[in-house]
């Protein structure tokens, strides 16, 4: 009987031979700020973001030998960082579910009571951000990667380890959810009719 060897041994792409050597110094210099910002956009806390960014580069340093330009360094680092952030979110959620629920309730009550305290633009921005934050992680991460970090769908697919089709379907679902939530706040301009061209 044939005995399969399940560990995929990759033939290095021919282009590898001409690719520059990646060093951790170069990665930190070029991408630390971007990774930190990504972590901040997911975790919403500067201290946690700094921890996540640092852990990301420590993990990257450990597996640098295996980096073969199958993705761009940014995509590779973003994938590591997103996984790290997910772990932090998961741990945080277990401990803070009750606390966050309470905060969310308070936040909603506050919004209902005093929207006039803020400028319209700021209110819209805040409502938009809050609505994005209220999406579940599955749908929030593609939105954050797409709109905050400008990642195209194929890159989001690589970062999140899902297919490009799934990225689109999650973005579609997220947009519809956001629309439902913001529609009730009269956030959209009614007089500016614009159909898809």
């Amino acid at each position: 009987m044939y005995n399969p060897m399940p560990v995929s041994v990759s033939l290095p792409p021919a282009s590898d031979r001409t690719l520059p050597v990646v060093s951790i110094d170069g990665l930190v210099s070029d991408y630390y700020a971007a990774v930190y910002r990504l972590a901040l956009s997911i975790l919403g806390n500067a201290e946690d973001a700094d921890d996540a960014a640092q852990e990301c580069f420590i993990a990257a340093a450990r597996s640098l030998e295996n980096f073969r330009y199958e993705a761009s360094p940014r995509t590779w680092l973003f994938a590591i960082a997103v996984n790290g952030c997910r772990g932090m979110l998961r741990r945080r959620k277990v401990r803070q579910t009750i606390h966050q629920t309470w905060q969310a309730v308070q936040s909603l009550l506050t919004k209902d009571r005093s929207p006039e305290d803020e400028t319209i633009h700021h209110e819209r921005e805040t409502l938009l951000w809050d609505a994005v934050q209220e999406l579940d992680d599955k749908h929030r991460l593609p939105v954050v990667l797409r709109y905050v970090h400008g990642c195209p769908a194929p890159e989001i697919a690589q970062i999140l380890g899902i297919s490009e089709g799934t990225v689109h379907s999650r973005l579609h679902y997220a947009r519809h959810q956001l629309w439902q939530q913001l529609h009730t706040c009269n956030l959209f301009q009614m007089d500016h009719q614009e159909a898809p061209q």
Binding site: M5, A33, Q54, G161, H172, H192
Partner: protein
């Protein structure tokens, strides 16, 4: 909502990503022209997209890190990376031996010092004035919550109301006043909660593995939350019951001896979830941090010195040839950097090079032979040295630019096959008898699917990268939770062994879901592979690494075998293919390079 409107809304959402074909676009325009509601929806989705694009980034301002700040970050990262690497390299066996040796030496020095300094008493003191309270219980421990753990009462001393101290583990923490201890001191409880301290009887190689084993014992629900924590340079982990099992709440703290990540023993403090935080927040370690008496020495060989003339010890056993080459003392150098390879004479590496080294062309040739009955063939593209292939079926290219492929796995009936192919554009596919199928390796922990008997079997991860599930023909047959505690891939391999599947997860080997470690009494089992169609793997038992082949234990034993290491010379150690295995191993303070194979 009626169907045309539903479809229009799907098209509107797809339009935002530029996914509509010309026909779909025309269809949408036609609908919007006659439907004000959908037209408004399209308008608002367009506005939403612009708002997201223009306003969302402002919520996360781009940070500015000065060169100095980045240099500091880099220094921290490099320091932590080196520290992690060093920690990995310190083997449990070496630590154990050294600690025990140091303890004996210290004890002897202490006894000698005391005997010299203390004036000799003129008359013996009454025994009852100098002896400490008896610490060994005379009462049998009460029944514990889980059978795999044994109560730890022996060294427990209650230091006062509300404070628990355990000299054996080297910990102390506080508990609510009014709780009373069981007769053996291993369990404390009050009207509002309890805690119980037990020793983990199953062997474990590391705190992480101990935590994973306990979290997977079934009593913490489907998604227990495991967290590694540090205090005072020691590490412990907490386990919380998954939220969907609130009716059966359990939480635990897992601690190695003296807070060590490598034990040698591990203890479980079971506690009701309400009081977990009380215990964790007051937890302290009562013994000083043990100083590793030795760490791996790394040195670079002098290129002007010829490699020493080494004579291998050669042994034949169970059809295998075992060749051990003594390389260097552990006091001089350690595998883990490329220069270590320079210590090994070229003739040693050359001897079985042809069998040992991966030959991509041979892999393709072998796959092509096995694919022939299915009508597929990989054809090398010019220029040949780039090793890029087109996949043909019936004279047509069905997949261009294939750059890598796994070995083919064929079903027992011979009617089906599967192999993973990767293309130049970074896409991966699962090639089966009916053609290539989309396959995202990231969703499968980068492990290709295999046929187990006639069942297509593969690995899956959860969206939070936190568990390893194994599916046979779509059905989940195994689920290992909380495997995502480190950035490394927790699952190392999935094999088909006849009708059985074999998965290796962080030093634990599962065969059809049964844990091989438990059957062997091994704290660790690793690098499971098939060698000439028979199982070959390493396992650590009683501190020594042994090797099993085809159900027999080979007559060689090591203090350590480099494995699961990230870098350089030890990154792919041990190595193995269908004919041989090769690895660096430590025995009696000497590093060996070992090759084991069946070359006839």
């Amino acid at each position: 909502m009626r169907r045309p409107h539903q479809r229009a809304r799907v098209l509107i959402l797809a339009h935002q990503d530029g996914l509509l074909s010309a026909a779909q676009h025309a269809e949408l325009q036609a609908h919007l022209a006659v439907c004000p509601d959908c037209s408004q929806y399209a308008n608002q989705i367009g506005q939403l997209d612009r708002m997201l694009t223009e306003e969302l980034p402002a919520h996360v301002p781009a940070p500015h890190f000065s060169d100095a700040a980045l240099a500091l970050k880099l220094s921290e990262i490099q320091h932590q990376t080196r520290r992690n690497l060093m920690n990995q390299r310190i083997s449990q066996t070496a630590q154990k031996i050294i600690w025990v040796g140091s303890a004996i030496v210290l004890l002897i020095v202490f006894v000698l010092a005391v005997s010299r300094l203390r004036p000799q008493p003129t008359a013996p003191l009454p025994v009852n004035e100098t002896s400490t309270p008896a610490t060994t219980p005379t009462v049998e421990p009460t029944a514990m919550e889980t059978p795999v753990e044994t109560p730890v009462p022996s060294a427990t001393v209650q230091t006062g109301p509300g404070e628990y101290a355990n000299q054996e583990i080297g910990i102390a923490f506080q508990y609510p006043a009014g709780w009373t201890a069981s007769s053996d001191g291993s369990r404390y409880e009050g009207s509002d909660g309890f805690f119980a301290v037990e020793e983990l009887s199953e062997p474990a190689i590391s705190l992480r593995q101990a935590c994973e084993r306990i979290a997977n014992d079934g009593s913490f629900g489907e998604t227990p939350a495991v967290e590694l924590k540090n205090v005072e340079d020691r590490t412990y982990c907490t386990i919380l019951t998954s939220l969907n099992r609130a009716e059966d709440n359990r939480s635990a703290v897992v601690i190695g001896t003296n807070g060590s990540e490598t034990g040698p023993k591990f203890y479980v403090v079971s506690v009701d979830p309400t009081h977990l935080e009380n215990i964790v927040s007051t937890l302290s370690f009562t013994k000083p941090v043990p100083t590793p008496a030795a760490s791996w020495v790394v040195s670079t060989p002098d290129p002007n010195q010829p490699a020493p003339d080494i004579t291998p010890a050669v042994l034949e056993f169970a059809g295998l040839t075992i060749e051990e080459y003594p390389i260097v003392s552990r006091d001089v150098d350690t595998p883990g950097h490329f220069e270590f390879n320079d210590r090994i004479p070229a003739w040693v590496f050359d001897k079985h090079r042809a069998v040992r080294e991966y030959n991509p062309a041979a892999r393709v040739e072998q796959n092509n032979q096995l694919l022939e009955p299915f009508g597929y063939k990989f054809v090398l593209k010019e220029p040949a040295e780039n090793l890029i292939y087109d996949l043909y079926q019936s004279g047509q290219v069905v997949q261009a630019d294939v750059v890598s492929m796994s070995p083919i796995s064929i079903s027992e009936s011979g009617e089906k096959f599967v192999l993973q192919i990767d293309t130049m554009t970074g896409e991966s596919m699962l090639l089966q008898e009916d053609g290539p199928h989309p396959w995202n390796p990231g969703e499968h922990w980068y492990i290709p699917a295999v046929y187990v008997g006639n069942d297509l079997t593969w690995v899956e991860n959860t969206s939070d990268m936190n568990s390893v599930a194994i599916r046979k023909t779509g059905e989940v047959v195994f689920n290992f939770k909380n495997a995502g505690m480190s950035p490394e891939n927790p699952i190392k391999s999935l094999w088909a062994w006849g009708e059985r599947w074999v998965a290796e997860i962080d030093g634990l080997v599962f065969i059809d879901g049964e844990l091989l470690n438990d059957q062997l009494g091994a704290s660790e089992a690793f690098n499971w592979q098939m060698l000439q169609g028979k199982p070959f793997f390493y396992f650590r038992k009683d501190g020594k690494v042994q090797i099993s082949y085809d159900g027999e234990v080979l007559p060689v034993e090591y203090d350590d075998v480099m494995h699961y290491q990230c870098c350089e010379a030890s990154a792919f150690n041990p190595g193995g293919n269908n004919t041989m295995a090769w690895f660096y191993a430590l025995r009696d303070n000497t590093w060996y390079y070992v090759e084991i194979g069946q070359y006839h």
